[in-house]
């Protein structure tokens, strides 16, 4: 932009400051009309880039005047007049954008026009903020007056609204979904003007409440300005959700609003818009007695948004009740109990909305089919966690003493849980309700651990081969002696990792060598490895049965694993099935524990249908391996460490 490369723009704003300093209102006015001309001609050309550069001129001009006033501590009437007119200029610019005037190039679409609108409203918003920052309450009143002069919307699009209502009523099987989405988008564009106007009005009002809380504005001025803003009253349920959830870093500049100066070097964070806007919403609702919370379903956003809002509401209510003397005139309420009653009404209304929203979401979730991708991803996670934890199976793989008996009629054990996960269907569907539940994939690890337990159960069932010793070293030695007598060489020693310590006695033994490094190929061995005793590898397995015990074995010769494959799952060893909740199961669950399902977190009762719906947002996950272990030769030895230190 030539205006930049030649520094014209910065020269102009420098010169503007000089003009302000010279206290010649006439000169400053020249600048105002200059900027106004630039903006008007950008509109005429439909050039958004250029328009955007200068539409915030009222803030610019006011900043120059305001900082000069602050420096000299002196204001004059003529300059105030200039400031007063700035709001009028903005209003007129917004008028110019109206399609009726045909000023903005005819062929620009609603979307671009709305971008023009947005910048103008954001400019107005910024201007009002700058005034509030300088405590220019009188000027602010004038500016709000001009703002109120704006119409409430530039197109009510009645025919579109009628069509939408009609379609929504007769939309069977989603046949009209495309047209409905299209209409909604069009209406969203048509509503932009009203929405922007409302956001500025509501935003500045909430900001003023916040300033009052911070003692930045006195009560009389606050009430005066609020009365001015209240000439237009809105239902702001939808907006408060928007303010709390939308990314406000790029919207209306609220994110940068602050009420006090900060030292250059100090660390500080400006007020968080979501917070002060919630406060404003609560105050405003009580003040206007606007205690019913109505919001279109699709505007709620995330499922827990209304719960969070309720929490925030409770917090604000507490604060207001504590400071009722400061707020009584604003709230029209001087009795804390009455105040809390009003809040309770509002809370109940939010809860009712929440219930409707939740039901709606639940219905969507129940209706949604399971997603293949989500299932595959889940299976993969389960398999990985299983593969990591099946320590005993890895030993059988190492020694190859396993047998596939899939075809045979022999019965093996099914190892693995059949779990009912409450409200977990959301992990297995596509669409907006999809969400990841952390930790479900640990089911795989569980199967691994169960397999380990099953093996130890089999091994420890034989009590004839138990010897008792007072330390790990002695236990190892006795076991080895016993095994060697039977002409067997132990290859594996299993211990419990929490008990086993390579104490001084063991460490001193020449037969034991602590392996500092890891095993080669350690992924295919049990995870916890302690070292070698006389050629036998020592592994730790987390299993209750191994507490204070050691299992010394010639693994390949002593045990055998039998298994069957299933058509699905990892290498056909692990089967993972994911199923939705059937009507029968849902009824059973409800019959088993009606209280649990029919009461919400807030203590409200749900109907039977609602409760069944809730149950059906759960999922049944069935994971299993078909496996059994048997003793081929009972030469292995179990040692009990009798006087192990009690920890």
């Amino acid at each position: 932009m030539l205006f930049d490369t030649n520094n014209i723009r910065s020269s102009i704003s420098d010169a503007l400051k000089k003009a302000v300093k010279s206290r010649s209102a006439e000169t400053v006015d020249e600048y105002v009309s200059f900027y106004r001309n630039l903006v008007t001609s950008s509109i005429r050309e439909g050039n958004f880039t250029y328009y955007k550069e200068f539409i915030r001129f009222p803030s610019l001009v006011y900043s120059a005047i305001g900082s000069e006033n602050k420096r000299t501590g002196f204001t004059d009437v003529a300059m105030n007049k200039v400031v007063d007119m700035l709001g009028l200029h903005l209003r007129e610019i917004i008028f110019l954008l109206n399609p009726r005037f045909n000023l903005l190039k005819n062929n620009v679409g609603a979307e671009l026009r709305n971008q023009f609108y947005y910048e103008a409203f954001a400019g107005f918003n910024d201007f009002l903020y700058k005034l509030s920052r300088a405590h220019e309450w009188q000027a602010m009143k004038v500016a709000i007056g001009y703002f109120n002069g704006l119409s409430t919307g530039d197109n009510d699009a009645t025919s579109l609204r009628l069509e939408l209502n009609g379609l929504e009523r007769q939309n069977i099987n989603g046949a009209q979904n495309d047209r409905i989405a299209q209409l909604k988008e069009q209406l969203f564009q048509y509503d932009a003007f009203g929405r922007l106007r409302r956001h500025v009005n509501v935003g500045i009002k909430y900001w003023l409440y916040f300033l009052y809380e911070q003692h930045s504005i006195d009560e009389d001025n606050l009430l005066l300005l609020i009365a001015q803003l209240e000439q237009f009253r809105y239902n702001t349920a939808e907006d408060v959700i928007f303010f709390r959830t939308a990314d406000l870093r790029t919207y209306m500049g609220w994110d940068n609003w602050d009420f006090e100066d900060h030292e250059e070097s100090g660390f500080y964070s400006p007020p968080i818009p979501g917070n002060w806007m919630t406060k404003g919403f609560v105050i405003d609702s009580i003040r206007l007695g606007n205690l019913s919370f109505k919001i279109p379903l699709e505007k709620v956003g995330a499922r827990y948004e209304l719960k969070l809002l309720t929490d925030a509401l409770n917090e604000e209510a507490e604060y207001l009740a504590r400071n009722i003397t400061q707020w009584s005139r604003v709230l029209h309420e001087s009795d804390p109990d009455a105040l809390l009653d009003k809040v309770a009404t509002l809370r109940a209304s939010i809860a009712a909305s929440d219930r409707i929203v939740n039901q709606h979401h639940d219905r969507d979730i129940v209706a949604a089919p399971l997603s293949d991708e989500a299932q595959a991803a889940f299976k993969l996670a389960v398999e990985q966690s299983w593969a990591e934890h099946c320590d005993i199976r890895k030993l059988f793989d190492q020694f190859s003493n396993k047998m596939d008996v899939s075809g045979a009629s022999r019965l093996l054990k099914r190892v693995g849980p059949n779990s009912f996960f409450e409200r977990a269907k959301i992990q297995f569907i596509d669409g907006p309700h999809f969400s990841t539940i952390h930790g479900i994939e640990d089911l795989g690890a569980m199967v691994g651990r169960w397999e380990n337990d099953l093996f130890l159960e089999v091994a420890f069932a034989n009590e004839n081969i138990v010897i008792q010793e007072t330390s790990y070293l002695k236990a190892f030695e006795s076991c080895f002696t016993r095994m060697n007598k039977a002409a067997r060489t132990p290859t594996i020693i299993l211990v419990h990792p929490a008990d086993f310590v390579a104490d001084r006695e063991l460490a001193a033994s020449k037969r034991f060598s602590r392996n500092q490094g890891r095993l080669e190929d350690s992924d295919n061995w049990p995870r916890i490895y302690f070292g070698v005793f006389d050629g036998a590898k020592i592994f730790g397995i987390h299993a209750e049965r191994l507490r204070n015990r050691v299992l010394v074995t010639d693994f390949g010769a002593d045990f055998q694993m039998l298994y069957k494959t299933s058509p699905e799952g990892m290498d056909n060893l692990l089967s993972v099935k994911i199923e939705t909740v059937s009507d029968e199961l849902a009824n059973n669950k409800l019959a088993q524990n009606p209280d649990k399902w029919m009461t919400t977190e807030n203590g409200e009762r749900l109907s039977r249908e609602e409760a069944l719906l809730l149950i059906k947002t759960s999922i049944v996950i069935d994971i299993e391996t078909i496996v059994d272990f048997e003793i081929k030769d009972d030469k292995y030895t179990i040692g009990i460490i009798s006087n192990a230190p009690v920890l």
């Binding site: 932009m1 030539l2 205006f3 490369t5 030649n6 520094n7 014209i8 020269s11 102009i12 420098d14 010169a15 503007l16 000089k18 003009a19 300093k21 010279s22 206290r23 010649s24 006439e26 000169t27 006015d29 020249e30 600048y31 200059f34 001309n37 630039l38 001609s41 950008s42 050309e45 050039n47 250029y50």
Partner: protein, 359 residues
């Protein structure tokens, strides 16, 4: 549209898309006049005078030959003309000095504008050269062959007369500069032309980038990435010479080079060049790369027209900046009327630029 020269293509596009910018651009004739009126173009003026004398003498025009001399007249005439002219010029210079010191707006820009407008340098160089030639002719009266001397005297006389017109013109312009409002008008006019020129130059760069980009797209050239740069190797990256200004690219030659160089290899270009930018070395512009190894850069240097920077960096007037300074002055003084004049000018420049965005 395919053209040999990228610049020609760009200028053509600008001409058809932005007629408002073209309207005020100088014709070739004005450009010659302008180049003669520069401070350091004295040698051009001398050459011009010599050329006129020579042509007038050797290829006489019938119209000028109606005047005839008796044998003694030329000798008398030449001395007198030389004296007359010297007197006139010395007076003129004195008066001009006085007028200049009484200019109503004494700013470097005003003087610059005045010198340009009144063609002061040209007229002074021209007058001095004419006197010089008259002196030379009068000195050579006995040396020159018979009929040559009268012819030269005749031409010299005509030129002496033309000096009078020039001086008249000079006075006329300088006196008009005594009025502040006329100076202001002139300054505004020049500032607008200056702004137009700058927009024009910006447009050349903008369209240049676009057209070159399209051209390269058509030929499946891809912008290089850091990975490719690494393949190409550090050595070629370091070969930065003194940057030159890219004036033009011969697309036809470039296309031929590309067609012959390493078929089958994906070719990458290093930087998205455009016209009127400083570039280090056009030879490193495009690389063919096959698989994991880079081939030698396509030798492209001869497709580029470069201009040395020192000549082009010369400041060409800064009337817009002059007004930016004035703006502060008027603001401080609270002079709303003058201020609005300047702001109007800026608004006009703004409008002009906005309306002439690359399409």
């Amino acid at each position: 549209m395919s053209s040999h020269s990228l610049r020609k293509g760009v200028l053509h596009t600008i001409q058809s898309n932005h007629p408002a910018l073209i309207a005020d651009r100088y014709s070739w004739f004005t450009k010659i006049i302008l180049s003669l009126t520069q401070k350091n173009s004295w040698w051009k003026v001398i050459l011009m005078v010599i050329a006129i004398l020579t042509i007038g003498t050797w290829f006489p025009v019938k119209f000028f030959q109606v005047i005839s001399f008796k044998p003694v007249t030329p000798s008398l005439l030449i001395d007198q003309r030389a004296t007359n002219l010297a007197t006139i010029i010395s007076m003129t210079i004195a008066v001009i000095g006085f007028l200049l010191s009484n200019l109503s707006i004494k700013e470097p820009q005003t003087y610059k504008l005045l010198f340009e407008r009144s063609k002061l340098y040209f007229i002074i160089y021209y007058s001095l050269t004419v006197i010089g030639s008259l002196i030379l002719i009068s000195t050579l009266r006995d040396t020159l062959p018979g009929d040559l001397f009268p012819k030269l005297v005749l031409m010299g006389t005509y030129m002496a007369v033309s000096v009078l017109f020039c001086i008249g013109y000079l006075f006329k312009t300088i006196i008009s500069f005594a009025s502040a409002s006329i100076i202001q008008q002139e300054l505004v006019r020049v500032a607008k032309i200056e702004a137009k020129n700058k927009i024009y130059i910006q447009l050349i760069s903008a369209y240049g980038a676009k057209q070159l980009g399209d051209w390269m797209n058509d030929r499946q050239l891809i912008a290089s990435s850091p990975g490719i740069e690494q393949l190409v190797g550090q050595s070629s990256l370091n070969g930065l010479e003194r940057p030159d200004l890219l004036y033009d690219i011969n697309l036809e030659k470039l296309g031929q080079h590309l067609a012959t160089a390493k078929t089958g290899a994906q070719k990458y270009y290093r930087t998205a060049y455009t016209l009127n930018v400083l570039i280090p070395d056009p030879g490193l512009f495009i690389y063919p790369v096959t698989g994991t190894a880079s081939k030698k850069a396509v030798p492209l240097r001869n497709c580029f027209t470069l201009k040395a920077t020192n000549r082009l960096m010369e400041e060409k007037g800064d009337f817009v900046r002059y007004f930016a300074r004035k703006l502060e002055e008027y603001s401080e003084a609270g002079n709303a009327k003058k201020l609005s004049e300047v702001l109007d000018l800026f608004a006009e420049i703004y409008d002009l630029e906005m309306k002439n965005q690359p399409v």
